[in-house]
């Protein structure tokens, strides 16, 4: 070798990566713009995102969109089907189903998002701790997780509803306290893997504190599965809320919870199917939308996982 072509080492990549992947002179390509580019290509995920976005707008502007209030009764119409006055018909006592479904989005989104946030915080903390510290404290956390896994959330929900009464907040507490198990396991597994990464060892070797290593160096690296799981978890929480409401352990009438509306209408399925159809559809579409967004995020965040 008489003339080493790339003395500086900039052009030589020991991994054999193509130079095109190493933009030296151009502006660095942000991770998130890259993710967005891949997410955009997934039509179903975009549809889900649009639906979620619309739902949030509906929840914010429910006052403007709903023609009636949630308790207002039309004494001339009970259980009547869809009409120009009442787009989704009226319920057993003459309340406008459309308005109640619109207001119901607030209940579902609030419960779904707040309970998922609680679950995420608990799960991330415990999982990070278990994965980072390992050994017996880690094992202890995982045994606690196992105990929680063996208690059906519905039983816990009934217990909490009995103690604190039936309300939106008790549903949030129930779902928050039972929803962290999955995140905890994901974060633990991810942290155990990251413990062996050289940059984590390097952080120890350069004198960083444990807490700083956990939250500044390791957590951002396990954020991708957390985001994906969290998005899908919002959908699951909304579904769980509907189930609890249906079982009459969720919020009480006149709260326009979709599950409760389905439950109240189920007796008249033959005569007034709209009582079940519209809130039921709202539940299904919302859950589907969150799951689609979650799936889309998974593919966009980690293109290697894509199996299609």
């Amino acid at each position: 070798m008489t003339n080493p072509p790339h003395v500086d080492g900039i052009e030589i990549s020991p991994t054999g990566a193509l130079p095109a992947e190493l933009p030296h002179t151009s502006q660095p390509v942000g991770l998130w713009s890259d993710v967005w580019r891949r997410f955009r290509d997934n039509k179903l995920a975009v549809a889900g995102l649009v639906f979620v976005f619309l739902l949030i707008l509906v929840a914010i502007f429910a006052d403007v969109i709903a023609p009636y209030s949630i308790t207002e009764r039309d004494s001339s119409q009970f259980r009547s089907g869809p009409s120009s006055d009442h787009w989704f018909g009226t319920d057993l006592i003459g309340r406008d189903v459309f308005s109640r479904v619109v207001y119901g989005s607030r209940v579902s989104l609030r419960i779904g998002i707040v309970s998922t946030l609680i679950a995420m915080v608990i799960g991330v903390f415990l999982g990070a701790f278990a994965g980072f510290v390992g050994r017996w404290p880690g094992a202890l956390v995982m045994r606690i997780t196992d105990i929680f896994l063996s208690v059906p959330y519905i039983v816990l929900a009934i217990a909490i509803a009995t103690v604190f009464g039936r309300s939106e907040n008790s549903v949030i507490v129930v779902l928050g306290l039972t929803g962290w198990l999955g995140v905890c396991r994901i974060v633990r597994a991810s942290f155990m893997q990251l413990n062996n990464m050289e940059y984590v060892e390097a952080a120890h070797a350069l004198g960083f504190r444990g807490r700083r290593i956990m939250f500044r160096h390791m957590l951002p690296n396990s954020l991708q599965p957390i985001i994906v799981y969290g998005t899908i978890a919002i959908g699951s929480a909304i579904l769980a809320e509907a189930a609890l409401s249906f079982l009459q352990v969720g919020p009480q009438d006149p709260t326009p919870a979709w599950g409760l509306m389905v439950s109240q209408g189920k007796g008249d399925l033959a005569n007034a199917p709209h009582l079940v159809l519209f809130p039921g559809l709202a539940i299904s579409l919302t859950v589907l939308a969150f799951v689609l967004v979650g799936d889309g995020l998974r593919d966009a965040l980690d293109p290697k996982l894509k199996t299609r």
Binding site: P14, L22, P28, M197, E201, A202, R209
Partner: protein, 335 residues
């Protein structure tokens, strides 16, 4: 390059014995190792994989929670590192003793910009403000020879090549002006042309911040070119310790001799086969009796002391050159 006998002893390891517990018993990864590192010198540790090089280094920094130290002292400027608190140890790590890792591809966190990672050192050890720390980081990146340091500081590790990343690692390690840099095979993952540059950067930096370097490597070429003193390790024990000239030209341990003979000679006749050391390193759980090297040693005498007695370090000549061989004085004759 001469050993600076007169300068301050920074690190003094005395009779260090350390190991891990495994299912099959205790592994003595480091067995009765002693050495001094002085300010300004490059101290190399060479040996095969599993000879205890990295464990020795990691034990100094207290980075291996599973390693138990059974005996010995690690004196860092007079303080025994085996006795300081976790908080004190954290202050020493990075600020006084900094480590440069083997694989620059994985030793930088992929989610933070390079500048931020270098700046973080200044922030946690020197309590600098974000802005000052970033200025410091850019200066450091500049010092290790990263062109357009200001622009590159805002890039992520995946936008750097291997050599650039290793430079960034070095920048991180030197941000707090440490007195000792431990470099664990710093060039193994790099391309040969880049290796030389990175080593050059390392040497320049050493003189620049007046520190010492502990270089862990199995590349004897690197050792010959850079080091002042060399320690050869075999199966967790010291085989030979001395200045580069002593170890390379007055070799007094058959293992060192074997290592030197196994290097391809570019000036020798073409087609000459390499001379390997026969056999493989011993299991650290089930050690051979006597000298750990005797099963592979061409000079071993059986029956003789080689199979029955563990050789102690004996002084060769009048300097600090020592060798753990029963027949140390006969080795250099065979050279």
């Amino acid at each position: 390059m001469s050993p600076r006998a007169g300068s301050e002893v920074l690190l003094s390891v005395k009779n260090l014995v350390a190991g891990f517990d495994t299912g099959e018993g205790r592994v003595r990864a480091v067995d009765n190792v002693s050495f001094d590192i002085r300010r300004g010198e490059v101290f190399s540790i060479v040996g095969e994989s599993g000879s205890g090089k990295s464990v020795t280094a990691m034990t100094i920094l207290g980075l291996l929670p599973t390693v138990k130290v059974d005996n010995g002292e690690i004196l860092w400027r007079g303080r025994d590192l085996l006795k300081v608190s976790d908080a004190e140890m954290r202050q020493i790590r990075g600020a006084e003793i900094a480590m440069i890792f083997q694989d620059p591809l994985t030793a930088l966190n992929p989610v933070h910009t390079v500048g931020r990672q270098v700046a973080e050192m200044a922030r946690i050890h020197q309590n600098m403000s974000k802005k000052h720390a970033m200025t410091r980081a850019i200066d450091m990146l500049d010092l290790v020879g990263i062109p357009e340091a200001r622009k590159r500081a805002s890039m992520y590790p995946h936008e750097f090549s291997g050599g650039m990343r290793q430079r960034a690692m070095i920048a991180m390690a030197i941000t707090c002006d440490p007195d000792l840099l431990i470099a664990d095979e710093p060039t193994t993952a790099l391309d040969v042309t880049v290796q030389a540059q990175v080593l050059e950067v390392l040497l320049d930096i050493k003189d620049n911040i007046d520190s010492a370097i502990m270089l862990i490597t199995h590349d004897l070429g690197v050792v010959a070119g850079l080091s002042d003193n060399v320690m050869v390790m075999y199966a967790g024990r010291q085989a030979e310790l001395g200045t580069v000239d002593e170890v390379f030209y007055e070799t007094s341990h058959p293992y060192t001799l074997g290592l030197l003979r196994s290097i391809p000679d570019l000036e020798g006749p073409f087609g000459q086969p390499l001379v390997p050391i026969e056999g493989s390193p011993p299991s650290l759980i089930d050690r051979p009796s006597g000298c750990p090297f005797h099963p592979r040693c061409s000079m071993a005498r059986n029956p003789g002391p080689c199979t029955t007695d563990i050789p102690e370090l004996v002084q060769i000549g009048t300097t600090a050159h020592v060798s753990a061989c029963h027949f140390a004085s006969e080795v250099s004759v065979a050279l």
